[in-house]
């Protein structure tokens, strides 16, 4: 039984169609992520659920009630903002207590609930400080505590980590995930960072141009992308040049191609000869070698086009200079085919 449903949502801003017939269902306690490039409609959808902009048409229900009939301040939905939106004129404590006041919570209870929320985000020692001089990570923790303390029916997060530096982003996303599981609250999380989405979500909804491309678990989204857009946006993708060489390779792999199909493969699902991959071999020359420590990225020119190959744990002596000859191994099960509309096609292998 779904908790939040958005049904056939359409939103137009003048001539621009921000949401084009979008439907999602979120379960109780689920961490649901909207993933996509900027302008794909993910923030518009989130703000429609929050009530900051109304849909042109469509339905939103939360726990059986029609949300579109409820004004935003009565929806009981917690929200965390990209720019934190911490009130600079209030102390950390008063920021977190802000949402409890209109709920007429008695003062002693405010105190215990605020301190509980602050200790959940590890800021209990800073309750009396003013937020202005605090770091972005600390401000976003206040934002999280402030949204959680009202025990909202739904938690919305609009790219909450995108203004933080890389290391803090990883640290805070783990915390967000832990707190969300503890409180067991349905959460909708917006991000354009595919790695973040994979790490944090129960399910991911990939969007582009106001449409839903695919909804699924992180494993389904990454391992079994249903559209070419999803495959390319989540992870990297090598596209094989169409032509005789590719057809020959497919034939050797026992795959049958059709006109209009595009074939692609992820860089980590192919390997160099002798690296444990089994499949058909393609000879080529190294164009570029990038050493990244725990892996190395190679760009290899082959008869089916330039292929990126990711090599895990490259040995320090295995550096290949540009121009060196090498052999790429392509396993049959690694290849994905997409039709002319970008949809995943059965590979018939």
């Amino acid at each position: 039984m779904s908790y939040l449903t958005v049904h056939n949502a359409i939103k137009r801003f003048g001539d621009f169609q921000a949401l084009n017939d979008v439907s999602i269902e979120v379960k109780k306690g689920e961490f649901f992520t909207l993933l996509g490039p900027s302008g794909c409609g993910k923030t518009t959808l989130l703000r429609s659920i929050a009530g900051f902009n109304d849909l042109t048409s469509g339905a939103i229900t939360l726990d059986g009630t029609n949300l579109r009939a409820v004004p935003p301040h009565k929806r009981d939905i917690g929200m965390v903002f990209q720019d934190y939106a911490i009130f600079p004129h209030l102390s950390v404590f008063d920021n977190v207590a802000f949402g409890l006041k209109p709920r007429k919570v008695p003062a002693p209870e405010i105190k215990t609930r605020v301190m509980q929320a602050l200790s959940a985000v590890r800021l209990q020692s800073m309750a009396e400080r003013l937020p202005a001089a605090m770091s972005g990570g600390q401000q976003q923790r206040i934002g999280l505590a402030r949204a959680m303390v009202i025990n909202p029916r739904l938690l919305l997060m609009d790219e909450p980590l995108s203004n933080l530096d890389a290391k803090l982003r990883i640290e805070l996303r783990e915390e967000i995930r832990d707190i969300q599981k503890q409180v067991d609250i349905a959460t909708i999380y917006v991000t354009h960072d595919q790695e973040e989405a994979l790490a944090i979500s129960d399910r991911i909804c990939v969007m582009s141009n106001g449409r839903i491309e695919q909804i699924g678990t992180p494993q389904e989204i990454y391992g079994d992308p249903q559209t070419r857009f999803v495959a390319g946006f989540v992870g990297t993708l090598n596209t094989l040049e169409s032509g005789a060489a590719t057809d020959a390779l497919l034939g050797r792999l026992g795959l049958t191609s059709r006109a209009g199909l595009t074939w692609a493969v992820r860089p980590e699902n192919i390997g160099l000869a002798g690296s444990g991959f089994t499949g058909e071999q393609l000879s080529g020359t190294v164009k570029k070698f990038t050493y990244l420590g725990r892996e190395a990225h190679l760009l290899v020119t082959t008869e089916v086009g330039d292929l990126v190959v990711h090599v895990a744990n490259p040995s320090r002596s295995a550096i290949l200079e540009p121009g060196a000859a090498t052999t790429v191994v392509v396993p049959a099960e690694s290849l994905m085919a997409f039709d002319a509309d970008g949809r995943r096609a059965a590979t018939g292998g």
Binding site: F52, P71, K74, G78, F81, A85, H89, G99, G143, A147
Partner: protein, 546 residues
């Protein structure tokens, strides 16, 4: 549904206000200038203006003092800005304070203090004569230009020092790395970066120089400008020529407008948003260069503040009637308490009334402009530029033209003075409120809404507390402008609505400098207090004074 209705009402109110207090007076000036004395529509006044040598001379003189004030202010202001932002100057903050003092000092008093020191019987001139140096008295064009340069340089100084302090040092270092000489660096990197500030400061100096009425009146000795001619045409005891006064006013507005548009055109492309990763460092100069920089800064700052210093000292001198005696006494202040209490009260109550109006109405209109982009805000923005370029004397004449007869008669009332101050300063509050609101992220109010506050309560609980310090500070600075306002009040006052600046002007004309100096000192103390309160609320933000 209450909110949209409320803001629609505010929009209607704003336009009604602008029509009544701005378009009707300006329209009256324009129509009055287009009718001859017999009441027939004609261009006689304009033909007279351009054919009579007297008016043409005033026109040329206005351009001369405008250009002179502009270049003097640019020269002094940029030297001081450059020295203070780039070199370590002992007591640099004190020098800035002196610049602020010059800026908020009451008008006229500057001109008169210079007469006291360098006039025909001037103190310094007499001293110099005793050691055998004769210098010409300060009257005429030279005197006007000296006073304008020293009175208006703070506009350039405050704007340019702000801009210079924000030039990313990496840009100059990059230019150095590319092999540019220091001179090339200054001209090709720093100068374009501060040009918008330089031209904006210069424009303020220029507009104030063109509009200034008191300085040429006192120092000019026959050197007339459009502002003095307009006042003369209006106030002549015999044969007051209102239509000539309004004609000159129209030309004065046109001249100011042309310069505003010119400045906008010149700095249209030069908007830079520096990042402040690499703030410029102040260099510690050595030897004669250090001495030179200090002398330059303190010479400019002290000369600019000299009128203030002179009036404070003279306000405590012993007098017998208008004549100064040896020694010090509080006689001048006693005379104010016994005879001029109502003038001080008028000034305080008129200024307070206009500032309260400015704060309440300016904040509402500023919110409207920032939040309701559906209404034609650019039109409103344009309309609000008009009071900015209207010289005070023109506002005064326009209000007389509009409210002397007809459905609304206000001449001789306190209301007309309050409203004339109100409309001149309103644009500043509207702009500062609108820009303050635009700086507050909309997610701030959205956060409050998501936490259970209705939109109106979110605005009151989150946005208002954030902009209130700025509004109070802006109100205090409006108060400084209001209480020092002279030229429009001079046209609009009657005996019972006389204000302190008007009284100072009349006292100086009467030669009673002791009381004038004491009144000026009181005015200065009030202004100083207001500036202090503003800085307490806003931080020491000297550019907010402009």
């Amino acid at each position: 549904m209450a909110r949209p209705n409320f803001w629609t009402l505010i929009a209607i109110f704003t336009w009604a206000l602008l029509i009544l207090l701005l378009f009707v007076p300006v329209g009256s000036v324009l129509t009055s200038s287009l009718y001859d004395r017999a009441g027939n529509f004609s261009l006689t006044n304009y033909i007279t203006f351009f054919s009579e040598p007297r008016f043409f001379t005033a026109f040329v003189n206005t351009l001369v003092v405008g250009a002179g004030g502009l270049f003097g202010a640019l020269l002094l202001g940029s030297i001081m800005a450059f020295c203070i932002t780039r070199f370590q100057i002992a007591g640099g903050k004190f020098a800035s304070l002196l610049a602020i003092l010059a800026l908020v000092s009451p008008p006229f008093i500057g001109a008169y203090s210079w007469i006291v020191l360098f006039g025909a019987g001037g103190l310094v001139r007499n001293l110099l004569r005793e050691v055998g140096i004769t210098m010409p008295p300060i009257y005429g064009l030279t005197g006007i230009l000296i006073v304008f340069s020293l009175k208006f340089y703070p506009y350039v100084y405050l704007l340019v020092s702000g801009a210079l302090a924000n030039v990313n040092r990496s840009l100059e270092e990059a230019a150095e790395g590319l092999g540019l000489t220091p001179w090339q660096r200054t001209m090709q990197i720093s100068f374009p970066l501060v040009f918008p500030a330089l031209s904006a400061g210069g424009l303020l100096a220029l507009i104030h120089a063109i509009a200034d009425f008191g300085t040429p009146r006192l120092l000019g000795r026959g050197y007339s400008t459009l502002a003095t001619e307009a006042y003369a045409a209006y106030s002549a005891e015999v044969g007051s020529n209102m239509s000539m006064g309004t004609t000159i006013s129209v030309i004065l507005i046109a001249v100011s407008m042309i310069f505003v548009l010119l400045q906008r055109y010149m700095s249209r492309r030069n908007v830079y948003h520096g990042n402040l990763i690499n703030k410029p460092a102040k260099i510690r100069l050595k030897g004669w260069r250090n001495v030179l920089a200090h002398v330059a800064v303190y010479f400019i700052a002290l000369c600019g503040a000299l009128p203030v210093i002179v009036s404070v000292i003279y306000s405590f001198r012993k007098t017998s009637g208008p004549v100064f005696k040896e020694g010090f006494a509080l006689q001048s202040y006693e005379r104010i308490i016994f005879n001029l209490g109502d003038v001080v009260r008028n000034s305080l109550s008129f200024s307070t009334a206009s500032v309260l109006l400015i704060i309440v109405i300016g904040t509402l209109i500023g919110t409207l402009v920032a939040r309701r982009t559906t209404i034609s805000t650019s039109l409103l923005d344009g309309a609000f530029m008009i009071p900015y370029v209207m010289p005070g004397i023109v506002i005064g004449i326009a209000y007389i033209a509009a409210f002397n007869t007809g459905p609304i008669v206000l001449t001789g009332t306190a209301a007309i003075i309050v409203l004339s101050i109100f409309i001149r300063r309103l644009p500043y509050t509207v702009r500062t409120t609108a820009s303050a609101l635009r700086q507050i992220s909309p997610s701030m109010e959205e956060a409050a809404v998501s936490l259970g506050y209705s939109p109106l309560r979110a605005f009151l609980r989150v946005t208002v507390p954030l902009i209130v310090p700025g509004i109070i500070a802006g109100g205090m600075l409006s108060f400084v402008t209001a209480i020092n306002e002279l030229s429009s009040s001079l046209v609009l006052y009657v005996g019972s609505t006389m204000t302190m600046p008007v009284r100072i002007y009349l006292l100086i004309l009467d030669g009673d400098f002791g009381v004038a100096a004491a009144l000026a000192t009181i005015l200065l103390a009030i202004s100083g207090l207001a500036v202090y309160i503003a800085f307490r609320f806003l931080g020491r933000n000297e550019q907010a004074l402009l």
